[in-house]
C-alpha cells in the first residue's frame, strides 16, 4: 500500500519540481496536459474501472466549461464561484444523462451517450446568441483569478493545474483502492455475478457515471478558466473520442494511465501538426494500432509484465 502512495505522490512532487525546471514552451504544454488528464481520469473511472464505454464525455466536459463560462459571462461571477457553477452543471447533466443512459448497456450505451453529446453540441450552436457558437468567447481577465492568483500568468496557471491534477489523482487512487472501486471492477468483469453477490449494481454504475462526469466537467471548467476561452469545438464529437484515446493509450483501469496517455498523445499530435494539416490521422492510426496490438495500453502492459501491484 505504501509504495503505491509513494509512487503517485512522487509523480505529483516531480510535476511540482518541473514547474521550476521546464523551459516556457513545455511548461505551458504540461499545464494543459495536467488539466486534460483530469478529464481522462474521469473517463477512466467509468470506462477503465466500471467497464462502461461512453462516446459522449464531451457533453460533461462542455457542461463544466459552459457552466463556468456562462456564469462568469452573464452574471459576472468570480473565478472560484464560476468554477463551482461549472462543476455543479456537469454533475447535474451527468446525473440526468446517467439516469437515462444506464438503462442500456454495451453498444447501445455507446450510441445513446453519443447522441446525448451530439444533442448537447447542437444545443450550444442553437443558442448561438448566448454561447457565440463556433466562435466562442473569451473569459474576462477579471474573472480569471482564484484566491488572488492571476491565472493569465504562466506560473499561477501551472500551479492551479498541478493542484487540480494532484487532487484528482489522489481522489481516483483513493476511489479505486476502496471497496467501492473493487465493486466497480467486479461489475466490469461480471455484472451478473456481482448482482448475485447482493450488490445493487445499478447504484454503483450510476455513482461511477456521475463521478466520471463530474471530473470531466471540473476539467472542462478549469480548462476554460485557465486558458481563457470557451467554444463549441470543445463540445464536438472529437472531445468524446480524445479521452477514450488517452485512456486506451495510457492503460484503461490504471490510475497513472490517463496522465501517461494524455502526455504521449498531446506531444504526438503537437509534433504531427507541425508536419501536416491532417494531423488527426495520428488519432486514427493510434486507435487502430492500440485496438490491434496493445489493448492494455502503456501502464497496463507495465502492470502485466513488471509491476502487478499497480492500482
Amino acid at each position: 500500500m505504501s509504495r503505491i502512495w509513494a509512487l503517485h505522490g512522487g509523480l505529483a512532487l516531480l510535476l511540482l519540481a518541473l514547474h521550476f525546471l521546464l523551459p516556457p514552451y513545455h511548461h505551458g504544454v504540461l499545464a494543459r496536459v495536467m488539466v486534460l488528464s483530469v478529464f481522462a481520469m474521469g473517463y477512466n473511472v467509468m470506462f477503465g474501472y466500471a467497464g462502461l464505454l461512453s462516446l459522449g464525455h464531451a457533453l460533461f466536459f462542455a457542461a463544466g466549461m459552459y457552466g463556468m463560462g456562462l456564469s462568469a459571462q452573464l452574471w459576472g461571477w468570480g473565478g472560484a464561484a464560476a468554477l463551482i457553477a461549472g462543476l455543479a452543471a456537469a454533475l447535474a447533466v451527468s446525473a440526468g444523462a446517467g439516469l437515462l443512459a444506464l438503462r442500456t448497456s454495451g453498444v447501445q450505451l455507446m450510441i445513446v451517450t453519443l447522441m446525448f453529446a451530439q444533442a448537447g453540441y447542437l444545443t450550444v450552436l442553437y443558442f448561438g446568441e448566448v454561447t457565440r457558437g463556433d466562435e466562442g468567447f473569451v473569459i474576462a481577465e477579471a474573472t480569471r483569478a482564484i484566491a488572488g492568483l492571476e491565472l493569465s500568468a504562466e506560473g499561477p496557471r501551472y500551479l492551479i493545474a498541478w493542484a487540480a491534477f494532484s487532487l484528482a489523482l489522489g481522489l481516483t487512487l483513493w476511489l479505486v483502492t476502496s471497496p467501492f472501486g473493487h465493486v466497480l471492477v467486479a461489475i466490469r468483469e461480471n455484472e451478473e455475478r456481482t448482482r448475485m453477490l447482493g450488490y445493487d449494481t445499478w447504484r454503483y454504475k450510476f455513482a461511477a457515471f456521475v463521478i466520471s462526469g463530474g471530473l470531466a466537467g471540473a476539467a472542462g471548467a478549469l480548462y476554460g478558466l485557465l486558458f481563457g476561452y470557451v467554444g463549441a469545438s470543445f463540445a464536438a464529437v472529437q472531445y468524446s473520442i480524445l479521452p477514450l484515446l488517452w485512456v486506451l493509450l495510457g492503460g484503461a483501469g490504471t490510475v497513472l494511465g490517463p496522465f501517461v496517455g494524455t502526455l504521449f498523445m498531446f506531444y504526438l499530435i503537437d509534433l504531427s501538426s507541425g508536419v501536416t494539416t491532417a494531423y488527426l490521422i495520428v488519432v486514427g492510426v493510434a486507435l487502430v494500432l492500440l485496438v490491434l496490438f496493445a489493448r492494455a495500453g502503456i501502464m497496463g502492459e507495465i502492470r502485466q509484465r513488471a509491476a502487478r501491484w499497480l492500482p
Binding site: 443512459a101 453498444v107 450510441i111 447542437l122 473520442i241 491532417a278 492510426v285 486507435l287 485496438v291
Partner: protein, 303 residues
C-alpha cells in the same frame, strides 16, 4: 407561392433525401444485422464514394453521361474492396468484439477522412449531373391547371429516386433469391450453425462489410451531382443512418427501409419550415430515447 406547392416541393426534396438515406442506412443495417458490429466509418465510405465519383468524372470530363456511369460502377467497387480489406486486416483480428470494433472503426474514420484531406484537399467540388432538365410541375388553382413560376424539379432528382428504388429491389432479390444471399442470411441467423454447415463465415463477413460500404458509396455517387464532394461530408449521413437504423430496429432491413422513408421525408419537410438545428436536436434526442425505452426500435419486434 402558397403553402400547397411549397409542401409538394418539400416532399420531393424529402423523397430524394429518403432515397439516398435508404441506401446508406441499409448498408449500415446489413453490416449490423449479419456481423453484429456498428461501423462508425460508414459515413467515410459514403464520402469516399463521392470523392471517387468526382475523380472519375473529371477524368472523363468530355462525356458527363459516360463519366457518371463509370463512377456508378467504379466507386462502389473500389470502396467495397477497401472495406473488405479493412475487415480482413482489422475487424477480423479483433474478432468482431463489439466495443473494440467501434473503437477501430473510429480510427478508420479518422484515417480515411484525413487521407482524403491530404490528397483531395479541403475544397468542396461539384460533379456535373449526366442530365438535368427542369420539369415544371402543374398545380391546380381555382379549377384550372397552371404552372406556377419556380415550381418544378429536375429530371436528375427524379432519376435518383427511381435509381435508389431499383438498387434496393435488386438488393432484396439478391438476398432473397440467390445462393450468396442465402448464405448471408444463414450467417445472420446463427453464426455457429452456419460454420457447422461449412459456410466460410469470415469470408461472408468481409463480403457483407464490403457490400455495406459499397451501398454507401453508391448513395454518394447518386447524390454528389446535387450536393458537392467534401472531405467532411460523411458525418451527416452517418448520423442520419444511425437514426434510421435505430428507429427501424437494429438489424431489421424492412424496418430500416420504412424508417428511412419516414425520416427522409420528415427531414425534408421539417427543414423547409423549421430551423434545421432545432430539428436535429429534437431528432437526436428522440432517437436516444427510443434506444433507452424501446431498444428493439419502433418497428422491431421485442427481443
Amino acid at each position: 407561392m402558397e403553402f400547397g406547392p411549397h409542401l409538394v416541393l418539400a416532399l420531393i426534396e424529402g423523397a430524394v433525401q429518403a432515397a439516398v438515406l435508404a441506401l446508406t442506412a441499409v448498408g449500415l443495417s446489413l453490416v449490423f444485422g449479419v456481423m453484429r458490429v456498428v461501423n462508425v466509418a460508414h459515413g467515410e465510405f459514403y464520402m469516399l464514394g463521392a470523392v471517387l465519383a468526382w475523380m472519375v468524372s473529371t477524368q472523363l470530363a468530355g462525356a458527363p453521361v459516360l463519366g457518371f456511369v463509370a463512377a456508378l460502377v467504379i466507386a462502389p467497387l473500389l470502396v467495397g474492396s477497401l472495406a473488405a480489406l479493412a475487415d480482413l486486416t482489422i475487424l477480423k483480428r479483433v474478432e468482431y468484439d463489439p466495443e473494440a470494433t467501434i473503437v477501430a472503426t473510429i480510427g478508420l474514420l479518422y484515417i480515411l477522412q484525413q487521407t482524403v484531406l491530404m490528397t483531395y484537399g479541403p475544397e468542396a467540388r461539384p460533379v456535373a449531373p449526366p442530365f438535368n432538365e427542369r420539369i415544371a410541375l402543374p398545380w391546380i388553382e381555382a379549377g384550372e391547371v397552371v404552372y406556377p413560376w419556380g415550381f418544378g424539379t429536375t429530371s436528375y432528382k427524379l432519376f435518383v429516386i427511381v435509381a435508389a428504388a431499383a438498387i434496393l429491389t435488386a438488393l432484396w432479390l439478391f438476398l432473397a433469391r440467390t445462393k450468396a444471399g442465402l448464405v448471408m442470411r444463414a450467417t445472420q441467423l446463427d453464426r455457429e450453425m452456419a460454420t457447422a454447415f461449412g459456410i466460410p463465415v469470415e469470408r461472408v463477413y468481409a463480403a457483407v462489410f464490403g457490400l455495406g460500404a459499397g451501398l454507401a458509396a453508391l448513395a454518394a455517387v447518386l447524390i454528389v451531382p446535387i450536393q458537392q464532394a467534401h472531405y467532411l461530408m460523411g458525418a451527416e449521413p452517418l448520423l442520419l443512418a444511425f437514426i434510421v437504423v435505430i428507429i427501424g430496429g437494429l438489424g431489421s432491413l424492412r424496418g430500416t427501409l420504412l424508417a428511412a422513408v419516414l425520416i427522409g421525408l420528415t427531414d425534408g419537410v421539417v427543414s423547409v419550415f423549421f430551423s434545421p438545428t432545432l430539428a436535429k436536436i429534437l431528432s437526436t434526442l428522440l432517437v436516444a430515447m427510443v434506444l433507452v425505452f424501446r431498444p428493439q426500435g419502433l418497428f422491431g419486434r421485442a427481443a
